[in-house]
Amino acid sequence: MEFGPIFRALLNNRTRFWLILVEVALTLAIVVNCTSIFLEKRQSFLAPTGMDTDNILAITTEPFGENFADEEFVESVGEADLRQLRNHPSIIDATPIHFFPLSGSGSSTGRKAAGSEIDTVEAGYFMVDEHGIDTLGTNLIAGRNFNSSDIELSSDDDAPQNIIITKAFADRVFPDGNVIGSRLSNRDNEHTGTIIGVIDSMSNSWPRAGMGGQTMLLPGKPRDNREMNYLVRAEPGAIDSLYTELDELLVSLENDRIVTVRTLSEIKLRYFRRTLMAMKIWAAVVVLMIIVTSLGIVGLTSFSVTQRIREIGTRRALGATRAAILRYFLLENWLITTLGLTIGTLLTILLNYILAQYAEAPKIDWVLMAGGATVLWAAGLLAALFPALRATTVAPEIATRSV
């Protein structure tokens, strides 16, 4: 293996060396960083929501009738709606709600353990009734669900509520455990709620945000004509038919309102639409980079072979077999690629740093770096193979030609 001469030759003919080396290094930096961003975005999209997202429908009602000004009327309509929905054969359960999870619209607030000195933790919250947990498809892992007295209590705005929280939120607010029965307060140390239950996980309105899994469920039912929205959990397979039926059903119950039905999946897709598009763009960039660089290596190596036809002929004359010529060029390419990938590793970290300062950049996973280097190394080898094979066809008698 002629590493020494190959390396020294590369140093003497700097152009070819540097062009491929810089190209490989830059490509590694770009490919690894872009893949990293792609994976992070993909992860945020695919992360489990904690809910039965595929089977949940979100219903928005916008009442415009005059009688909706009356609170009791609103309550009775709400009850009638929920009764109809819950009795529907294709519906597992239904709950009233105001804002929808995964939608990007919602309410959030900061809470801390009562009496604690640490700062409040941000959480998104939703007001649901005792059917909320089953409708959402979340799992209660400690404590109990809401009951009717919790719901009754909710109408008193000043009283602390009984609250259900997610484990993610519980872990931050009550790191020592002892969650059930503990009290929550706001920043001003006013007692705002008592924890009665913990669910394993549930995304709030902002699943992409750092606090996306920190969620609180508050007990309540629609009292205001602005809050009459519902979540409905369909039997598996029934969601498509319900999608078209439900607005007619509710309008038939009460005419003076606009009813809009969407699936929770739809809402999630809309929230993530920029993320999904960014993912496509990053994936395209990665593929494009690998292709362009491979073609570039084919071209540059091919040019190198053409420039060195006399050298190849001379080597053959001096006793090199065709295999030896192939090996020589592949080795040369291997050396440049390896050096390029080594420098590329540094460049990747540098680019990651620049992106983090200026825009977004997840930390580089070393497995990803190794994977990227391997892919590029293989691509480089494959790219160099064609010109290298061409080099082996140079006849030894070229050496004696005078031109």
């Binding site: 490509t27 916008e62 705005d157 602005r226 598009m277 494009l288 040019f303």
Partner: protein, 437 residues
């Protein structure tokens, strides 16, 4: 002489069409990707109202928790919005040329004909000055005056899409529209208007469409309007009714003023400070005095409207262009050096080193420009694709500045790629290649 050399350059390219095509594509791809990214970045971070962006000011009062700033990463910042009390109070000032408190509400609209069902629509509650301040273009009619603000008169202005939807696009000035429980008279219809970004209210989707209907602000208590934008609060308050909402410390109103001179700005600053100090004596405004007047670009900066993706895409695209340029250098080297014998002859016949150099640089620039043209065409396609994928009707398009930028980029890329190969070829010794026949 230049024309002659240009013609030579084209002839050289025509001689090997496949190789030339390869070079044009190599650089064209890089230009396409960079131009698309730069365009997106430019549109997202551009100045939506350049001729006025320095006289329009976003008003911020630091009405937040005594112990914690609104933004702990940037403690010097104040909350973006005001309370109803404060907004309506400082609207009394006579200092600004124009001023408006504003927010986004939501109403049910009842179209006239029976064909259309009632629908929910976002409505911007604002003062008559809004239209003058932000240079909002009218197709028919105009906005309302101070008297209409005060009453408030039941008048509205509708956007061009809303006009299309409700009335088929005709001049609907004078017609009435039922919103919630009462009728409003349309006194103005806007021409198509979509500031990018929506700088007067970047909350929500800063690149979304403006509201379809504009209504005098003072209907807020009358119609019991709640904000359907962002509402922030730093203290817990029990709010039982709309009146309570209006009197609370909840922040949900954007405040903009137009101050045309430095003295005017100072006068207004003094006015704000005096107001807040007065409120402090009433027990409000627990934080230190920090009233801010931000111009348009600073406001957009603090709202961070440019998505991070856009910035990182920009960086990556430019690196991609570099890789494409490297490939182009490689191809050029191959092409030029294989021509060494011919150049040797030319030099022997008297061509100077610099003329050989210029000749080749020119050839590279031709490739660069052709690649730039190809790249611009591709980037138009790419932008259209993105528009369609986002399907929110966002308009990413190439304007003249961007086309110019793309061409500049291609000239620069052609130059950078071409300098080294051209330098190499012009240093070929004539003698060496003459001998080898």
């Amino acid at each position: 002489m230049f024309v002659y050399q240009l013609r030579l350059a084209f002839k050289s390219l025509r001689r090997n069409p496949v190789l030339s095509a390869l070079m044009v594509v190599a650089i064209g791809l890089g230009i396409a990707v960079s131009t698309a990214s730069v365009t997106i970045y430019y549109i997202y971070s551009g100045n939506p109202i350049p001729h006025k962006s320095d006289v329009l000011f976003h008003v911020e009062l630091d009405n937040w928790h005594p112990d914690k700033p609104f933004d702990s990463d940037h403690p010097e910042r104040a909350p973006f919005q005001l309370t109803y009390r404060d907004a309506t109070a400082i609207m009394q000032s006579d200092v600004p040329t124009y001023q408006t408190a504003a927010f986004r509400g939501e109403f049910i609209v009842f179209p006239d004909d029976d064909q259309q069902r009632p629908f929910r629509e976002h409505i911007r509650m604002c003062f008559g000055d809004f239209f003058k301040m932000f240079d909002v273009p009218f197709q028919y009619g105009n906005g309302w005056d101070e008297a209409a603000d005060l009453a408030p008169e039941s008048v509205i202005v509708i956007g061009s899409e809303m006009n299309q939807k409700l009335f088929g696009g005709v001049n609907s000035v004078g017609r009435s529209l039922k919103i919630e429980d009462r009728y409003f008279t349309i006194i103005g219809v806007l021409a198509p208007w979509r500031p990018t970004p929506k700088y007067y209210d970047p909350t929500g989707d800063p690149f979304g469409k403006p509201e379809g209907i504009f209504m005098p602000f003072n209907f807020t208590p009358v119609l019991e309007v709640f904000s359907s934008g962002n509402t922030w609060g730093w203290t817990s308050e029990s709010i039982n009714n709309h009146e309570g909402y209006l009197q609370s410390e909840m922040l949900w109103i954007q405040m903009w003023v137009q101050l045309d001179s430095a003295t005017q700005k100072q006068a207004y600053q003094d006015y704000l400070d005096a107001y807040v100090l007065e409120q402090k004596s009433l027990g409000r405004f627990a934080r230190p005095l920090n009233n801010r007047l931000l111009n348009v670009m600073t406001t957009l900066e603090e709202y961070e409207v440019v998505p991070d993706s856009t910035k990182s895409q920009l960086v990556v695209s430019l690196l991609f262009l570099v890789v494409c340029a490297i490939n182009l250098i490689g191809i050029l080297l191959g092409k030029f050096l294989s021509r060494a014998p011919e150049i040797g002859v030319r030099r022997a016949l008297g061509a100077s080193r610099s003329s050989v150099f210029i000749q080749h640089v020119l050839e590279c620039e031709v490739i660069g420009v052709l690649g730039g043209g190809l790249g611009l065409a591709i980037s138009v396609l790419v932008l259209n694709l993105i528009n369609r994928m986002l399907s929110t009707g966002e308009h990413l398009h190439l304007d003249l500045t961007m086309v110019g930028a793309g061409l500049l980029l291609s000239l620069v890329a052609g130059l950078i790629a071409g300098i080294y190969p051209s330098w190499r070829i012009c240093h070929v010794a004539p003698a060496v290649h003459l001998k080898m026949q």
